[in-house]
Symmetry: C2
Subunit: 329 residues, 2 copies
DNA sequence: CTCAATAGCGCAAGCGATTGTAGAAATTGA
DNA sequence: TCAATTTCTACAATCGCTTGCGCTATTGAG
């Protein structure tokens, strides 16, 4: 079923059909009605690919995600996706793996996407650059890369880390450890930097550090390592919630310690599971809905105005107090 | 950058360029090299939309999901997406909401997708039909609808339910309750039917039932309701894991009961969180990787052979025993 | 009543590729 | 060496639509 078939049945020109399906085009009510009648009789639907070709606007936005295991990403993906749909854009989803990123970029560009959203802390800055070089607007979520024309939306990770340090110190903790995410991710760097600076404000330094690489198993290992040392922490800041659950599991089940009586745990993200009673994780909120909204606002602005003015939005961090960490008096 | 530009630079015809980028087409090595050189000099990438138009193969597969909160869906989505990418297809992601499903179908069809994967227990059979009517292959994951030409991939929900009943009865439980998901979903119907039949095999009937609608909050309410009755259950089969976590939270934190000493809980799905120590949820596994693999195999078979022979794959269910339910001796 | 302005429609070019066909070039065999 | 065969390449039609342009019909002001 093409617009020509509809045109024939409605006894109008093919352009009249096209115009009826183009909002704002100049068609009389009479023509529009005849066209619509013919269209619905034939079950006609305009071919979006043809439209994209001729108009140069595919209304396709690529979303790149590295993994969906950490519940933060599905949540963000859902918000992004719904918002884009509401604005009349379609989402082309790509799962990246550490190896084949060039391949991914090549594909994205072939599909003439109008913009790219990269929602992953573990995304190479290289990739961001490659995309941006083509002139397609790129917005990175939860990651900041210097020397790129890509925009970014992050929470205030530095301030978030600082708040955690302050909270733990004021609760009376002395031996405060840190479990890192992926070393060269901007989220980890900023959270860690803010955390150390917050400790320093109270004249403290971190009393232990190990690396969990943002994975569940990595965090379990990191925890065992921390507690195998002579100085055992009485509080741990874990670089994200996803790892914090593993940490809590190891501390309670394997080490037989109580939370928060023996050890306080604070995470980052405020994923849905953090509010589950079995964990009751005190954490720093990254408001996924707002991050998604902001990212889309920036992206669409660039898409629609064809201006690729880099912007970096930093959303405020907020500490969510639950039961996994002792509270200051 | 179009193929014409490349052709000019390489001093060959535009068709030669096209053929170099078409695997299996007849081009001499000499020509191919010249074209490749010119292409990489200009940074040329074939336009996938133009290719799709003329060839009638968009290599686009739509995936419909209703929500990503239940971790089962992100996991499945990731598997599906990676597998499709590996086969050279792109994923067009759509989040459906109960209201605007017609709108979603309209969009999908406009983008000339070659197949549709519906990964959601809460998808109207109507929608499935509308899609299938157009002749585009549809595979439903985790949902079965009669009177459709859509294929489906499910786990053996009936057998799964039966296994749970058998396990609980043999562990000595007498007052066994059921918390339902969405009433008219096929997963709920089958799990419940299998469960009752399993109880009947031991001469028992369910001792309480309430509805959680597959939501976290719904399950919490359902639990409170169950325990407000005069006969309190000593075991509960919850229609999926996502709800089971809420159930466990309410039982332990609000009702002050111990699991599994006072109440046994069994879920369904074996989502990643089920293995977290704080829950240690005994559950029925739905192997997401295998479900994804099967779904894609069926879908691509239909896409590539243009045969829309309906198929219904039922994968075996497997009980995963952890600590949330008493075990038979 | 006349003329300028405007609204609506049709024509046709073109978006960037694929692909059947036909001819030129290269290869083969006798 | 020449005819027969096999590559390989170029030409051109086509996919389904948007959109600038020009024409006709309508409208309204003077």
């Amino acid at each position: 079923m093409t617009s020509i078939d509809v045109a024939k049945l409605a006894e109008v020109s093919q352009s009249a059909v096209s115009r009826t399906f183009t909002p704002g085009a100049s068609v009389s009510d009479a023509t529009r009605e005849r066209v619509m009648a013919a269209a619905s009789e034939l079950g006609y639907r305009p071919n979006a690919l043809a439209r994209a070709m001729i108009s140069g606007r595919s209304r396709l936005i690529a979303i790149l995600v590295a993994y969906l295991e950490n519940q933060f990403y599905p949540v963000v993906l859902e918000k992004l996706s719904r918002a884009l749909q509401a604005d009349g854009y379609q989402v082309l989803l790509f799962m990246t793996d550490p190896g084949g990123q060039d391949e991914v970029v090549r594909r994205i560009l072939q599909y003439q996407v109008q913009g790219i959203l990269m929602a992953s802390a573990t995304m190479s800055s290289n990739l961001a650059n490659e995309c941006a070089e083509t002139g397609i607007p790129v917005v990175m979520l939860n990651r900041y890369v210097a020397n790129t024309s890509a925009s970014s939306v992050t929470s205030d990770n530095i301030e978030g880390g600082r708040m955690v340090a302050d909270f733990l110190v004021r609760a009376g903790h002395k031996r405060i450890a840190y479990i890192a995410g992926i070393e060269d991710s901007s989220t980890n760097r900023d959270r860690e930097a803010g955390f150390y600076s917050g400790l320093a404000d109270h004249g403290l330094v971190v009393s232990g550090r190990s690396v969990g690489n943002y994975t569940f198993e990595g965090a379990a290992l990191a925890t065992r390592e921390l507690f195998s040392r002579s100085v055992k922490p009485d509080a741990i800041f874990v670089a994200n919630d996803h790892m914090a659950f593993a940490v809590m599991d190891v501390i309670r089940s394997e080490l037989g310690l109580r939370i928060p009586e023996d050890v306080s745990i604070i995470g980052y993200d405020n994923v849905p599971e953090a509010s589950w009673n079995a964990y009751g994780l005190t954490t720093v909120e990254q408001h996924p809905e707002e991050m998604a909204r902001t990212a889309i606002k920036i992206l669409l602005e660039q898409v629609e105005n064809r201006t690729v003015a880099k912007r970096a939005a930093i959303l405020p961090a907020k500490l969510i107090v639950r039961s996994s960490a002792r509270t200051p008096d």
